[in-house]
């Protein structure tokens, strides 16, 4: 009788243990075909890629791939043959073609090449936007604030460089490889260090999330290339010309995709918050810029989504910053470095 009881207990608990193990393991490895197909389709869309960062920021999906991403890239081959022979239906062929494109899209660009492109664009920024603003104390301060937010970004392992542009037009730029610029006109509109941290962190986010390179990734002038290396760029001066023209056009004239700007806003606010700044600095500055006369006339407005849209989007996700009012804005420190003539 006792032996039977023991057996029953033993078997019961072994079953419970196996059940517990399954409950723990199965969700991680379960396979859902429908979800898989959705993932394949989703993965062929352009950046920003959804990603799970340390603090679970939700990154919204882009609405539709641009025409460049949808064009026929010449991967018909066996898949096209399979479709014409009736092995695959139209939908399956499309998914397979997109999967092939996705695999090709894994082609990496190294930091060395990114920096070569970004460095050339940095020269362009100085040429186009007033050159260097000479104020060593302010430059040091910009470098300190910029560096501390870059240190808690998603890409702290590269060097970031910060500079002030001598133009009264409010503007800020980031070029690939770690170059960040802010105009003296924009600095004059800033009210505290938390706002400055937000603005610089927005630019750092463009670099950490490789936004400009994503635009380049869809470039027609790169079609047919197997790799973009310094050697390739060196041997094809025409290609480097085209790359620089294309990225210049996006950064200085057309502006990045709206969704990339929204992403940079969200990450920018997040990086400033991680460093301990009041996270509302960026959105407060955006609102101020939208209301100002100076902001309305700058190219900053023509290359970015409207300030009201940016402000409203940031406000929508404000809930996650509980106790935000306890974080410092450091207005006093900002004005101790960047003294302004009194208005009276």
């Amino acid at each position: 009788m006792h032996k039977n009881n023991l057996k029953i207990f033993g078997v019961s608990f072994f079953c419970l243990w196996v059940l517990g193990l399954l409950l723990w393991v199965v969700p991680s490895y379960s396979f859902n075909l429908d979800q898989f197909l959705k993932d394949v389709e989703k993965s062929t869309q352009p950046q920003p890629k959804p990603r799970q960062e340390e603090l679970d920021i939700t990154i919204e999906e882009p609405k539709a791939p641009p025409p460049e991403a949808q064009q026929n890239t010449g991967n018909d081959g066996l898949i096209g043959l399979g479709q014409s022979l009736g092995i695959f239906d139209k939908k399956t062929s499309k998914i397979l073609k997109q999967s092939v494109n996705t695999l090709q899209a894994l082609q990496p660009i190294a930091y060395k090449e990114e920096k070569a492109i970004g460095g050339r664009l940095a020269v362009e920024v100085f040429s186009r936007f007033g050159g260097v603003y000479d104020d060593p104390k302010l430059l040091r301060y910009i470098n300190l604030v910029g560096q501390v937010v870059a240190d808690v970004s998603n890409r702290p392992d590269i060097e970031y460089h910060f500079a002030i542009l001598d133009t009264e037009s409010p503007n800020a730029f980031a070029t690939p490889g770690g170059y960040v610029f802010v105009s003296i006109g924009l600095l004059r509109m800033i009210e505290n260090e938390a706002q400055l941290a937000g603005v610089l962190a927005h630019e750092v986010a463009h670099i950490s999330q490789k936004h400009a390179l994503q635009t380049l990734g869809r470039s027609r002038s790169l079609q047919g290339l197997s790799a973009l290396t310094l050697t390739v760029m060196d041997k094809n001066p025409g290609l480097f010309d085209k790359l620089i023209d294309e990225v210049s056009n996006v950064l200085f004239t057309k502006g990045l995709d709206k969704n990339l700007e929204f992403e940079a806003d969200r990450y920018g606010r997040e990086f400033a918050y991680r460093m301990g700044y009041f996270p509302g600095g960026l959105q407060n500055f955006i609102r101020k810029l939208g209301k100002s006369k100076e902001g309305g006339n700058s190219i900053f407005m023509s290359t970015h989504p409207s300030t009201s849209e940016r402000f409203n989007r940031l406000k929508k996700t404000w809930n996650r910053y509980r106790k935000a009012s306890l974080y410092p804005v450091l207005g006093k420190r900002f004005f101790s470095v960047f003294k302004r003539p009194s208005k009276s």
Binding site: Q107, K112, D157, A163, R218
Partner: protein, 171 residues
């Protein structure tokens, strides 16, 4: 009879322990995001620095306290400011960043062409040559070089954070 009860009770405990085993076995592994990250004796920026960890160092998180994680790594246990850590391994993060796609080929980049971020310094010759060819002024080129040469010492950054009660010094 009491003996059989004892055996049954022991079996219940053993069963529960086995049931919980898979959950207890889940250790949280994080990675250091940047070289020279401080491992400190306590969950405070002013505590003793036990060692400086290299980028990519794997750590096991034991406890979380505010903005600090207690971790164990290479035989040491200490505290790290949580935003200096990432859940993703360096290789995974690198892959995530390699987004230049749609080039239409299959060749992988040669190993000699890739390098870590901190080891490449100075304006690339190809950038400078191109800028000169396109008529950029020497001042603009020099401005980029000056920008790259500008360095803030780690101690100055640390002092800046302490004064502003930011980062690991925040309350």
């Amino acid at each position: 009879m009491p003996k059989s009860l004892f055996i049954q009770f022991s079996m219940v405990l053993l069963g529960l322990a086995m049931l919980l085993l898979p959950y207890l076995a889940t250790a949280e592994t994080w990675y250091v995001k940047k070289s020279s990250t401080k491992l400190q004796a306590e969950a405070s920026a002013r505590s003793k620095i036990l060692s400086r960890l290299k980028q990519g160092t794997r750590v096991e998180v034991k406890k979380k306290s505010g903005k600090f994680f207690q971790v164990s790594t290479v035989g040491k246990t200490g505290w790290i400011f949580r935003f200096k850590l990432s859940k993703k391994a360096p290789a995974e993060r690198q892959g995530e960043r390699d987004v230049l796609g749609a080039l239409g080929g299959n060749q992988r980049m040669a190993a000699r062409e890739s390098a870590s971020g901190s080891s490449i310094r100075g304006l690339s010759p190809i950038s400078e040559q191109h800028a000169r060819k396109k008529g950029a002024t020497s001042e603009s080129i020099q401005a980029v070089k000056d920008m790259e040469d500008y360095k803030v010492r780690p101690e100055a950054l640390d002092r800046f954070l302490e004064e502003g009660k930011l980062g690991e010094y925040s309350q």
